[in-house]
Amino acid sequence: MTVPYTDQFAAFSANGGGEGPAWLPALRAQAFERFSALGFPTTRDEDWHFTSVTPIAERTFKAVKAAPTALTLSDIEPWLVDESWQRLVFVNGRLEPALSNFSELPAEVQVSTLSEALREEPEWVKKHLGTLAAFDRAAFTALNTAFMQDGVVVRIPKGEVVEVPLHILHVTDTQAAGAAVHPRLLVVAEAQSQLVMIESYVGLGQASYLVNGVAEISVGDGARVDHYKIQRDSLEAFHVGTVQVTQGRDSIYHSFSYAAGAALSRTNVYTKLVGTGGEARLNGLYVLDGTQHADHQTFVEHLAESCASRELYIGILDGASHGVFNGKVYVDPIAQKTDGKQTNKALLLSDKARIDTKPQLEIFADDVKCTHGATIGKLDDQALFYLKSRGIGSDNARALLTYAFAAQVLETIEVDALRLLLERAIFARFTNLALE
């Protein structure tokens, strides 16, 4: 059997992919070799039991053509959310400087494209790139590493608190129909620094494409990174995203993953708590309809004492959609006083909708507190009656309770403009009322 993407990788290596410091083409080649050996995962693979990637594996997505975009600022305006946010805008995988604006970041904060960073600080990049997101057992990460191009590198120096959110917006339009983009993000937040980052994906026009992203985030001692991933890709698109985090002592990593787009999506949020007293907050909301499929896998590795992890994932499934939540927690023998809590709740709005949820706890320390809970349900009849008894009609009462279900996790969003955006979006989706 011929390995898919072999020709594409050869062409890429000969044309651009071979550039950069000598270690980079070697890393790409190694990653591609690993991808060739692994192949795409199948449902026999434990981590992919409920998600078949056959629709991705059975075709070969092209490389995106390096054509200039016709999109203007007014086309992307609705997706900017807040004008004050600093932004890097990518269209079909390529940075568009004319649409981007990150000039108001503190001078000490380095934000650059991967190629710039490779030119200016190759040694520093080498020290971090690919060291967090291992690809030896992850085919999609291997594929990303082989093909990654216009990535983003963010470095927050020690003690720097970045007040203004940084928005990395990936727009894909019909120019990328049938193509794959492999966004790459490397964030190093040094000790005591803070960063709020929004990574969003939107599809303009109906196109089928593959987004295969990898983010590597290092949260230093006492540092805090808030990371919002907002996935609103085209309903014909495929989206695979892996976030691999490592957390130092007393650090906070707060992640929120919103998945409303794509025909098939898989989001992996993995964090390693390597310093004592670290805290991971992993939250998410998936809202699906039609034949959409969205899979979230989280993996929290408690590798040090006295760390806490809090997970709340909420799904609202309509039509014949299929949601998957797989929350893995590993508690190392050394990780005494671990405090872990995981909750997954799904609301099924139709008889054909389906959720598969699987907590996986591996605990090797004895002095730990780890709980998990999953509830799958319909709207609460008592609450429905309560609303109706106040004069609120059946449809509005249902809509309000559906919104309320999502609101439980939306309230964990600490960026006001983003929380409002999603509250309004969910409210408008399920009700014909106005939310003020």
């Binding site: 609460d380 009849d381 008592q382 609450a383 009656f385 309560y386 609303l387 109706k388 008894s389 106040r390 004069g391 609120i392 009609g393 059946s394 509005n396 009462a397 309000l400 309770l401 919104y403 309320a404 279900f405 999502a406 609101a407 439980q408 309230e411 009322l433 939310l435 003020e436």
Partner: protein, 250 residues
């Protein structure tokens, strides 16, 4: 205003109300007392239109209409209000939003303009004072994490905002300390008008010191076994229910 005739109702296939007849006129306050499990809440829920109870016989006429033929929301829009014995928590919907949505639904049903959030704020201010509730409660999710007393006060607040014609209070006094009881009763009295009526379900005669009933009924075993004036409540307080139960065959 309300005429209940020979009402029978089941829950989970079991008969709970076994022939209740009760007439309430405009301007009146009726108290319903009775032992635990006698069917008081069932009666209240059937009046409000809870779909979990099956009415197997009898009629309820409200303002000349067949109440049993109306959906719960239609009853509310027609002026029926139930203060729940166990108010429901709705995390994710603020009290302010919930109350305004309900208020506007009732206005729409009467063919009136909806009010905007600013206008509603003014309306709320006065009602909050009535039940001595802090304005910050409006920004909290409906009943979520409220203490027992806060939940009961929130029911009366809703009643004050929605200004019902027929209010049914299901053990709104249970679990309240004397101050909270005074506030709740004060709220009910302030809302009393000649053209509305109130049914108070209670265990304790002490509430009736504040809300003076025109009639008192004893509900036991799914039937009204005795009716009388306000002095019946005092008699029940002194003697309990047993002297009534045996002769009634309960």
């Amino acid at each position: 205003m309300l005429k209940i005739s020979d009402l029978h109702a089941n829950a989970s296939g079991k008969e709970i109300l076994k022939g209740i007849s009760l007439t309430v006129n405009a301007g009146e306050v009726h108290a319903i007392m009775g032992p635990n499990g006698s069917g008081k809440s069932t009666l209240a829920q059937v009046i409000a239109g809870h779909p979990g109870y099956e009415v197997t016989g009898g009629t309820i006429e409200y303002d000349g209409k067949d109440l049993l033929d109306m959906e719960a929301e239609e009853r509310a829009q027609a002026g029926v209000f139930l203060a729940f014995q166990y108010p429901v928590e709705i995390p994710g919907v603020t009290n302010a939003y919930f109350l305004r949505a309900a208020f506007n639904e009732l206005r729409k049903a009467r063919g009136e303009e909806e009010v905007d959030p600013m206008e509603f704020l003014d309306i709320m201010e006065e009602k909050l004072k009535l039940v001595e509730m802090d304005a910050t409660m409006m920004q909290r999710s409906v009943n979520a994490g409220f203490s027992g007393g806060e939940k009961k006060r929130n029911e009366i607040l809703q009643m004050a905002v929605l200004a019902p014609k027929l209010a049914v209070l299901d053990e709104t006094d249970s679990g309240l300390d004397i101050d909270a009881l005074r506030i709740v009763a004060g709220g009910v009295n302030a809302l009393k008008r000649p053209d509305n009526a109130t049914i108070v379900v209670t265990h304790y005669q002490r509430l009736l010191d504040y809300i003076v009933p025109d009639s008192v009924h004893v509900l036991a075993g799914g039937r009204i076994i005795k009716s009388g004036g306000k002095e019946l409540a005092l008699e029940l307080e002194a003697k309990g229910y047993d002297w009534l139960l045996e002769p009634a065959g309960v």
